[in-house]
């Protein structure tokens, strides 16, 4: 009975969330579109290093993100409408739940992690005869409809006669002027300044900041990286990983921490919440990304899995090895007790 009512309220919130999340889905789709064009620009010297986009890496990150459906479809601020009740058979309910999990998977799609874009400083022509022609710059945008925004021609004619390509900031601003995207502002909101970010973090609203950042900035802009780095650093410092678990930003945070080699806090948090499988997959991801570290080589030589992997990691690599070993022992005790009982 309780399960049925829980499922019913889930279906209700899913159908409510469906309409509001449509715009979010579009944004995710837009961001994945730019992500596809971005990977072709990557030209890393060693191709053996695993990337964010590798299927194995993505698999691990989706697993550790978790799927807490209650959190994904929690009520969002929207118009007050009376709830709709549907009479369903068991089979229909099962289908509705499956549809809800599909929708949750789409909502949990990870935003792309791209390297920072190189600044544009291309000069198309230098006409010194035009020096002093006007006090203001002229900015010319091509508003042909069917070109992707990255390939649009946006040029600036300076008052000293130089015709140059527009910088990335100018490009973003003008694309927003002529092709406005929902939720994006022309000037970035003040919440992204350093002092305001600190205030927002003290109120535990990291997820909102990351969502706003997702809408406002392009994934490879410097502002995007700065805000994300600040958020992840703050989360790591205070150990508030639970805020992002089961949201689409968790994978990005895990990737950032793995690349910065500071996975200890996250592993400890996972062990505290008894998510052993997640901890194991996180450590295996660490070994995938840093195959030359001591713990990776040790694990490869011993072909370790499960708790052994964690023990090797705790001994070799982490700074808080004592804590991890304690937590492991506690977990093993509880496992024995539950198996004995």
């Amino acid at each position: 009975m309780a399960a049925v009512s829980a499922a019913r309220c889930l279906v209700r919130s899913y159908s409510r969330a469906k309409n509001v999340q449509r715009s979010k889905q579009m944004l995710v789709r837009c961001s994945t579109r730019t992500f596809c064009s971005g990977t072709q620009d990557d030209a890393l010297p060693d191709k053996t290093k695993p990337q964010f986009t590798d299927p194995d890496v993505q698999d691990i990150l989706t697993r550790i993100t978790g799927m807490d459906v209650q959190k994904v479809f929690r009520p969002i601020k929207q118009e007050l409408k009376p709830p709709t009740y549907k009479l369903m058979t068991d089979g229909q309910l099962k289908e509705a739940l499956e549809a809800a999990t599909e929708q949750a998977k789409k909502l949990l799609q990870m935003p792309p992690v791209l390297p920072e874009r190189r600044p544009i400083d291309d000069v198309l022509s230098e006409d010194k005869i035009l020096d002093g022609m006007d006090t203001a710059k002229y900015v010319f945008t091509d508003i042909t409809y069917n070109i992707p925004h990255r390939e649009r021609f946006i040029v600036v004619r300076e008052p000293n006669g130089i015709l140059r390509k527009a910088t990335w900031d100018e490009r973003d601003r003008l694309t927003q002027v002529y092709f406005p995207k929902e939720g994006r502002k022309l000037t970035p909101p003040l919440i992204f300044k350093e002092e305001k970010l600190k205030m927002v973090f003290s109120q535990d609203r990291h997820e909102d900041v990351l969502d706003l950042c997702q809408v406002q900035f392009e994934p490879d802009s410097s502002e995007y990286t700065r805000v994300h780095t600040a958020t992840y650093e703050d989360l790591d410092k205070h150990g508030k990983y639970e805020l992002l678990r089961s949201t689409r930003h968790f994978g990005g945070m895990a990737w950032y921490l793995v690349n910065a080699r500071r996975v200890d806090g996250l592993v400890v948090d996972m062990l505290k919440r008894e998510l052993l499988q997640d901890a194991v997959s996180l450590v295996s991801l660490f070994h995938m990304v840093h195959p030359h570290s001591e713990s990776a080589q040790e694990a490869a030589s011993q072909q370790a899995t499960g708790t052994d992997l964690l023990k090797i990691y705790a001994q070799k690599e982490s700074q808080r090895s004592g804590y991890i070993e304690l937590a492991l022992q506690a977990y093993e005790l509880t496992a024995e007790k539950s198996s004995a009982a």
């Binding site: 203001a136 010319f140 945008t141 508003i143 042909t144 021609f153």
Partner: protein, 141 residues
Amino acid sequence: MTKLFSFVRLLINYHGGHVVIRLALAGHNQSNRPFYRIVAAYNKRARDGKYLEQLGTYDPLPNIYNEKLVSFNFDRIKYWIGCGAHPTKPVAKLLGLSGFFPLHPMTITEAERRRAQAEQTETSTAAAAEGVEEGQQQAEV
């Protein structure tokens, strides 16, 4: 020549009219705040009247970043020029500044005139400043 093929609805028969790409004032309800649409229209039509197609915009007042925003739909401009449209002088100047057309000679002439004016004002202010200094020195002496 007249583009009768594309307009079956209204049988306007302009005698010797042609298509031009020109600036049309928009937002006529605001004084002292011009904003132009770059428009393909018949030559004989009113400046702000019915046009064939809007090809872009031009904002003559600079914004907070000291930019004058101009937009062109180059694809459609190429089409209309291919159909035989004539751009007017200001549109030709803007297209020249954007790099789509070669530079308009009047743009260069205007730049030279402005530079000459600036030099003149500089020399006159320099002379005035020197005159003031001399006056001060004489007063001190």
